[in-house]
């Protein structure tokens, strides 16, 4: 008798999980990279193609890596906020120009303003794969040791910046 109860017991457990799962939003996907070192890369700088940049150059600083592209409509919505943030100069922003044509990207920056300390060109999106880029825009907060502390998929809102990103950056700087 007892062994015939096992299937029922397993099923009850399963239903419990499914019930909890129902109340979750499957679209809210945090990155498995949080708490891990930012994947290394070595890419040409968009503004000066002769120069190269790698995340190791930012060691000792807390910074934002913003994934953007000129073809990305929602990047344009996010852009003024980034420009404003860069004016304050509290948090350096670096751009990862994702699957874009350099001439389009440069034109876009002259038209809408350049909040980036520099942008690197990930023309074929290979670095995007390392970072698990899900959709553009995406933003990563990286600490002084080069560890990813926060990831946002989609547009950064002013509220998110004030309540989450800037406080977190401030604690990381200490």
């Amino acid at each position: 008798m007892k062994r015939f109860l096992w299937p029922l017991a397993i099923f009850v457990l399963l239903v419990g999980f499914l019930a909890v799962g129902l109340r979750r939003d499957p679209r809210e996907v945090p990155s498995p990279l949080i708490g891990k070192a930012a994947p290394a890369f070595d890419l040409p700088v968009l503004e000066q193609p002769g120069k190269r940049f790698s995340p190791a150059d930012m060691r000792g600083k807390v910074w934002l890596l913003n994934v953007w592209a000129s073809w990305c409509e929602s990047c344009r919505d996010e852009h003024p906020l980034l420009v404003e943030l860069s004016r304050k100069g509290t948090l350096p922003i670096l751009g990862l120009n994702y699957k874009d044509k350099p001439e389009d990207a440069r034109l876009w920056l002259t038209r809408f303003g350049d909040p980036y300390q520099l942008s690197v060109a990930d023309a074929d999106g290979r670095i995007g794969i390392d970072y698990g880029v899900y959709g553009v825009p995406e933003t990563y907060l990286i600490d002084a040791q080069g560890v990813i502390r926060y990831k946002r998929i989609g547009v950064i809102t002013p509220a998110l910046l004030q309540e989450k990103i800037l406080p977190l950056a401030a604690t990381l700087k200490k």
Partner: protein, 652 residues
């Protein structure tokens, strides 16, 4: 007017389902023939009303009645007629109606072909199916009404998802659902037997053809879906371990285990409680699949309906049906008499081991599918499990199952003779080993995994052949069931070989070509001749032309397209494929990179067609097995001798 009639028909069907789900079961328990006799007419009436409702919905789609929300959301006046009709089941609501329609089709089939069964058994079986139908009809009517009106009516519809505008999509869901829902028959048989306490060889014999029939549909449905993904999604993959694919694959694995376990229960009276559990599981997994797809609990390409109310309803229904039947199982299965004894080396133990392996594989797929959900529920973060997990877990579980499948048919029931089995199988084993060692060299590259895959594929193919030769030499007359088994096993062999060859020797290249330029791949030259604009009925497309040649001789002209559908505006890649028995050439159009040049993805896929060929062989094998004379003669002899039926009925 017509949508209202459809809705009214659904309400009547629900009323009949309530009658069917209660009175016949009560009647069977109290031995009141007046109540048990209600089962058949209630089932048939329900079919009529559901079919009528389905017809009403199909008509609304056909007639472009955009005052029906469902039509306005999933169709468009410029959609070709065939797809307008197929759009009936393209939406969440419509596909559930199709689900119920299939359920009533199976109920009518049971009511028509159950002449040989005791009346109280039929009453219980149809009663259980009626209860399932109550659940789905109320789900349909109370959370997902397909006939909901849209006032004021829309001028035109939002169009069917372009991915679904394809002949494969016209046939894939009905096939798949026939299979899914078909397991409800095996499930109802098992529950009826548990209620009755009569779990014997004849119960297994009755269940077998029904289970096999459902399995055939499911096999074909999955194969069609996989083929559709292959040519329509434009990536050249044929199985993605997507949650929805897994949702259909899990019942298939459990159903396959069930078919084999039923064989033992029928022939030897063994594994009764195991077989009943498998029957419950196969259908439960079908329900779980429906839950996963329809509740939006997992993200997937397919999960287009996300409404928490629906999720809660399905979950409650799931808990009731599966929880109830597992509780019944826990209560009654202990009372089943143990079956006949058998030795370790016997066909019984091989079949048992195989069904356990299949179920474990099914569990592994389920864990992979639900793992992200478990982690999330426990607040351990969100992850997604990809093909690497499934491939590394699934293949090692299937390898021993395939070895056993080759061995089983040549080992005797009850007590096998090891030396005899070895003698019978030595040629198959030697041939498979030789093929595994040397065949890769013919393809130019030897790798261990390739060799193992070929070994497994050839092993089951050759051992099935040995079984066939042995049987035709020794037995005077063989049953269709035997030929069916051999054919289905050969289908597995073909499938395994094809998968191995595709995985090992496929080649692909992403190239950027200007008109007139060529790219080489796998000995073929792909010459890009440029792109021109074409206009379809409800889309515009850029159509490229690629001329393929081998050693200077023309092989094929391929026309991959990139379509923009007028209404939904999303670009769709239509890959062009040259089908050949030994390889497919697969070209898909990437992006316009300026100056007439485009990026193209070209692929050469050796023997990939045989993946689906193998599935077709399996389904054909199932068809042969289900058409075995003994199921029919059994039924006929019982209808000719009603007194025998009553004796059996009252003896229990």
């Amino acid at each position: 007017m017509i949508p209202e009639l459809g809705q009214f028909a659904l309400l009547l069907a629900l009323a009949l389902a309530l009658v069917q789900g209660t009175l016949p079961i009560v009647g069977a328990a109290r031995r009141q023939p007046a109540l048990t006799a209600l089962a058949r007419p209630a089932a048939q009436g329900q079919f009529v009303f559901v079919a009528f409702a389905f017809g009403c919905l199909a008509w609304s789609f056909y007639a472009n009645d955009f005052s029906v929300l469902n039509v306005a959301s999933n169709s468009n006046s410029r959609l070709p007629t065939a797809y307008r009709v197929a759009a009936t089941w393209g939406s969440h609501e419509g596909s559930l109606l199709l689900w119920v329609l299939m359920l009533t089709v199976w109920m009518v089939a049971v009511s028509a072909f159950s002449g040989g069964l005791p009346e109280d058994m039929v009453a219980r079986i149809l009663g259980v199916m009626g209860l399932v139908s109550v659940g789905f009809l109320s789900f349909l009517l109370f959370t997902s009404n397909p006939f909901e009106r849209l006032l004021p009516a829309a001028m035109d519809g939002r169009d069917l998802n372009p991915l679904l505008q394809d002949p494969g999509m016209v046939f894939h869901p009905p096939m798949l659902y026939m299979g899914y829902v078909g397991f409800s028959v095996a499930f109802a048989f098992a529950i009826a037997a548990l209620l009755d306490g009569r779990l014997d060889a004849s119960w297994a014999r009755w269940s077998r053809p029904w289970t096999t029939a459902a399995w055939i549909f499911l096999t074909l449905g999955i194969a069609l879906g996989s083929f559709w993904a292959y040519y329509e999604l434009g990536w050249g993959g044929w199985w993605f371990w997507d949650p929805v694919e897994n949702a259909s694959f899990m019942p298939w694995l459990a159903g396959t285990a069930l078919i084999h376990s039923l064989a033992v229960t029928e022939k030897r009276g063994a594994f009764k409680s195991w077989t009943v559990l498998l029957a419950i599981l196969a259908f439960s997994l079908s329900l779980l699949g429906t839950f996963l797809v329809r509740s939006g609990v997992l993200t997937s390409v397919h999960a287009f309906a996300t409404d928490p109310r629906r999720g809660v309803f399905i979950l409650a229904f799931l808990a009731l049906v599966i929880g109830g039947s597992l509780a019944l199982y826990a209560w009654r299965a202990g009372k089943v008499a143990p079956g006949a004894r058998f030795e370790l080396l016997s066909r019984e133990s091989m079949l048992l081991a195989n069904s356990v392996l299949l179920l474990v594989a099914c569990g592994a797929v389920m864990i992979g599918t639900l793992y992200p959900l478990f982690l999330d529920a426990l607040n351990l973060g969100k992850i997604s499990v990809g093909p690497p997990y499934f491939e590394s877990v699934f293949a090692p579980l299937m390898a021993p199952a395939i070895l056993l499948a080759g061995l089983g048919p040549l080992v005797a029931w009850r007590r096998g003779d090891g030396a005899q089995a070895a003698r019978r199988l030595r040629w198959a084993a030697i041939a498979a080993l030789l093929a595994a060692l040397f065949l890769p060299l013919a393809f130019g590259r030897w790798a261990l995994l390739t060799s193992i895959g070929l070994l497994l594929g050839c092993w089951i193919l050759f051992s099935s052949l040995s079984a066939l030769v042995l049987r035709t030499r020794t037995a005077s007359r063989s049953s269709m069931a035997f030929f069916g088994m051999v054919l289905a096993h050969a289908g597995i062999g073909v499938f395994v070989l094809a998968v191995t060859l595709v995985k090992s020797y496929e080649a692909e290249r992403d190239v950027r070509l200007a008109p007139g330029q060529s790219a080489e791949l796998g000995g073929y030259a792909f010459r890009f001749e440029g792109v021109r604009d074409v206009t379809g009925p409800n889309y515009v497309a850029a159509r490229g032309t690629v001329a393929v040649s081998k050693d200077g001789a023309a092989v094929a002209r391929l026309a991959p397209e990139k379509r923009i559908y007028h209404v939904q505006k999303n670009p769709m890649t239509e890959a062009a494929i040259d089908y050949g028995a030994a390889r497919h050439l697969y070209v898909s159009l990437g992006d316009d990179v300026g100056g007439g040049a485009w990026t193209l993805r070209i692929q050469v896929k050796p023997f990939i067609g045989w993946i689906w060929g193998g599935c077709l062989l399996m389904a054909l094998g199932g068809l042969l097995a289900a058409s075995d004379r003994r199921y029919r003669t059994h039924a006929r002899s019982n209808t000719l001798a009603p007194e025998a039926t009553t004796v059996r009925g009252s003896a229990a």
